[in-house]
Symmetry: C2
Amino acid sequence: MNDKFFKLPLEKQRRIINAAYKVFSENSYKKAPMSEIADESGISKALLFHYFTNKKELYLYLWTNAIEMTRKAVAEYKTLETDDFFEMLKRSLLSKCSLMREYPHLYAFSLRAYYETTPEIQNSIQENFNDVSKASEMIVFEKMDILKFRKDIDIKTMYAEIFYAVDGYMLKKYRSNCIIPDEIEKEIIVLIDFWKKVYTQEV
Amino acid sequence: MNDKFFKLPLEKQRRIINAAYKVFSENSYKKAPMSEIADESGISKALLFHYFTNKKELYLYLWTNAIEMTRKAVAEYKTLETDDFFEMLKRSLLSKCSLMREYPHLYAFSLRAYYETTPEIQNSIQENFNDVSKASEMIVFEKMDILKFRKDIDIKTMYAEIFYAVDGYMLKKYRSNCIIPDEIEKEIIVLIDFWKKVYTQEV
DNA sequence: GCTTGTATTAACTGTTACGGTCAATAGGGA
DNA sequence: TCCCTATTGACCGTAACAGTTAATACAAGC
């Protein structure tokens, strides 16, 4: 990978990265064409290959970049610095919305990349999202205040159900090609408030 | 489309159809290769083209077939013959699980096909799932007994949230290539029971 | 065994897509 | 003007793909 890429105006870097996230999130690795990424970002294919020596390198850069930025965003929003589960959830999801403003397709890319089966890619991915999310899940379970929940529900099921719903919601947004961060933020907040009301113990 | 296809042993028909559902659910129309469908179903590409004159015809057959079979399964399970929302939900999802035993990738295909953008396909799809599901949603809302729900929650949000969760759950199953109807059925029932407990009014 | 009809395929065709390269150009600063 | 870097159009070899065709495998009837 060519250092000159990082000397580009940030806006242009972002445009290229985003185009790549988009194309790789819509196709499997093998069927995602470099030419489409070039077109989408408004540069020539030759230039794209000038910055990233080949497809694999670009993909792996996107991957580590996604992990890193996600981690950073989650930290910035002080996601784990509370013991209120729904506050954690809100911070976590709002941090992802903020990321979405800059990189609309990063979320979809991450969702897909984890299950990428192309051997040459699968083997090269050492650090994976699952480790990250499993780890943070554990921290969440340690940190959160159990007492606030209704006593008659199974918290693990609740936790799983909420994340299914978030993924299902985002899937729909992506499939209908409708990534408007402001709107998503609003709707996510509605959902979180809904969950909070439903799962919290009456006082 | 060639009538001889229907004279094939049912098992073989099923194998071909399923391979097609699989490949079309994993790739966009344009990038789903007929050769892969042939390989997956254990017949030659030439024979596949013998039964379905071309790719488009096969795709459209799958589409109408999916709608028809879904409708039939939902009817068989008497989904709308109750006023208990969670019973409806259970019947609806169990009917889809039963379909899944025969056609594991039909659900994923449907999920994707609705958002297919290839013009030659998009234009040819007259009857769409959205009409069907919107219609049945209306019936559901008419039929179901509102009184059973907690009074402090928004039913539309609940309805949306549940369907997000189901899609998110299925997405995960498909992505991790883990379609085991028995297991899915069990887990779906756990989720429904969970929802029922959470959303139903205490007596 | 031979004949006939059908199920099935290997091999082929023409075209397009793709990853990657390179020689050439454009553009800006000295 | 020269020089240097950013950028690209055109190109290459290969592979993938939709669809065709001529040939084979196979079974049924004689």
